[in-house]
């Protein structure tokens, strides 16, 4: 339900909101721990009560920040299953999630000049779709329909963006794919 595990996390850099939450959590819990050490060593009543009143609040806030990051991090890749013949999304739909096919086959369909759907390509395990809408900030430009039962990994826009910005090889790959698909699209539209 919560996706895979910590190991599927993208290599987020320090600009990401999760890194900032972790930093905030570290500052809050670090300050409370320092106060706790000083209060327990000196046994000063005001420090002890300060720790009990403020320090505990800081710790709880820090733990909450970490829990938020952990929960959202685990949702980096969400596994979804579709039966044969289902539509994952329609052309023109809004949507910014990116999908990677784990198993099964999907068809990429696009409306022709006569309004009928034409088969553009067929994607299998390891292929991905959905990144065009995100990278071009546009509605979906094709309909994705399953041919067989399919399992896909859905990635949120933030996570994809983090991957895209921090992994040059991945960025290069997606740029090539996008150029190729845009060229194909232009050819089709004449």
């Amino acid at each position: 339900m919560l996706g895979l595990s910590f190991n599927v996390l993208p290599g987020l850099r320090h600009g990401d909101w999760r890194s900032k939450f972790i930093l905030l959590s570290q500052v809050l819990i670090g300050a409370a721990s320092l106060l706790g050490v000083i209060a327990m060593i000196t046994k000063q009543p005001l420090l002890l009560l300060g720790w009990a009143a403020v320090g505990q609040g800081l710790i709880l806030l820090g733990v909450a920040c970490f829990v938020i990051v952990a929960l959202f991090s685990q949702r980096t890749l969400v596994s979804e299953n579709f039966s044969a013949g289902e539509v994952i999304f329609n052309e023109g739909d809004p949507g910014r999630d990116v999908y990677v096919v784990k198993s099964g086959t999907v068809q990429v369909l696009m409306k022709g000049r006569d309004g009928a759907q034409e088969l553009i390509s067929t994607l299998g395990p390891g292929d991905h779709f959905g990144e065009m809408a995100l990278l071009r900030n546009a509605p979906r430009n094709a309909t994705i329909r399953t041919v067989t039962p399919v399992e896909v990994y859905r990635m949120s826009p933030n996570n994809f963006a983090a991957l895209y910005t921090s992994l040059p090889a991945l960025r290069e790959h997606f740029q090539k794919v996008m150029e190729s698909r845009l060229r194909e699209l232009d050819t089709r539209r004449g």
Binding site: F6, N7, L9, G11, L12, R13, H14, D16, R18, S19, I22, L23, S25, Q26, I29, G30, A32, S33, L34, G36, V37, M40, I41, K43, Q44, P45, L46, L48, L49, W51, A52, G55, Q56, I59, L60, G62, V63, C65, F66, V67, V69, A70, S73
Partner: protein, 227 residues
């Protein structure tokens, strides 16, 4: 010479005979866990400088920002609550409590507090033991009162002579003395073999016969009602 030594020993509150009380453990564990949290944070910042939300870093964060802080909340709370029951904790508000602490240590003091302290009836926790009522309600009320005292002390909003907000209840004495051999041997305390109704209802206060509760200068507190 020997008698002087005995008197001194009786009024110092007793030396620590052995490390290992629950409070000792709680304080040590709180310090150790807090230090471990700080180490985890520093290691995470240094080793995973630009990868704070990657796999291995998150496991370290799970320890330093998730699990250990929850442990420190438990041990720290216990340490603070337990330490707050000790005489030395009450004595740190020295501007107000100094006369009371001096009375506890005075071998010539006729007060009940000194007798209890010097006979080690509640070693190290005499203030709390006498002034906190029965059960969890009593503990909770004592903590609230303690917070009010800290606020008043910190903001210098207290006034001499110190007075108790309400009369000292007999039940605070009876929670220990009821059933004790020497107490039950005194017929004046009893009615049909049990604690008399007069004492139970508080119509007759224990301190009306056993005064003073504290032997302190009048400026500090009114005898029998101070605390």
């Amino acid at each position: 010479m020997r008698l002087t030594g005995v008197a001194e020993a009786a009024t110092t509150g007793g030396e620590v005979m052995r490390w290992g009380t629950a409070l000792d453990w709680a304080i040590t564990l709180t310090i150790a866990i807090s230090a471990l949290i700080l180490v985890c944070i520093v290691v995470a910042r240094v080793v995973f400088r630009y990868h704070q939300t990657e796999g291995s870093a998150l496991w370290l964060h799970l320890l330093g920002l998730g699990v250990l802080p929850l442990f420190v909340l438990v041990t720290g709370n216990f340490a603070v609550l337990e330490y707050a029951t000790e005489v030395q904790f009450c004595g740190t508000c020295h501007l107000t409590m100094k006369p009371y602490i001096e009375d506890l240590h005075n071998p010539k003091s006729p007060s009940l507090a000194a007798a209890h302290f010097q006979n080690r009836f509640a070693p190290g926790a005499e203030c709390y033991t006498c002034h906190a009522n029965y059960g969890i309600h009593g503990t909770f009320a004592a903590k609230l009162t303690g917070l009010r005292h800290v606020y008043k002390y910190t903001t210098r909003s207290w006034h001499f002579p110190l007075k108790m907000p309400e009369p000292f209840e007999n039940t605070l004495c009876l929670k220990c003395h009821n059933g004790a051999k020497r107490f039950m041997a005194q017929e004046i305390h009893l009615e049909g073999g049990k604690v008399s109704e007069e004492l139970r209802s508080g119509k007759t206060e224990c301190v009306s016969c056993h005064a003073p509760a504290h032997d302190v200068p009048k400026k500090a507190g009114s005898p029998g009602r101070a605390g």
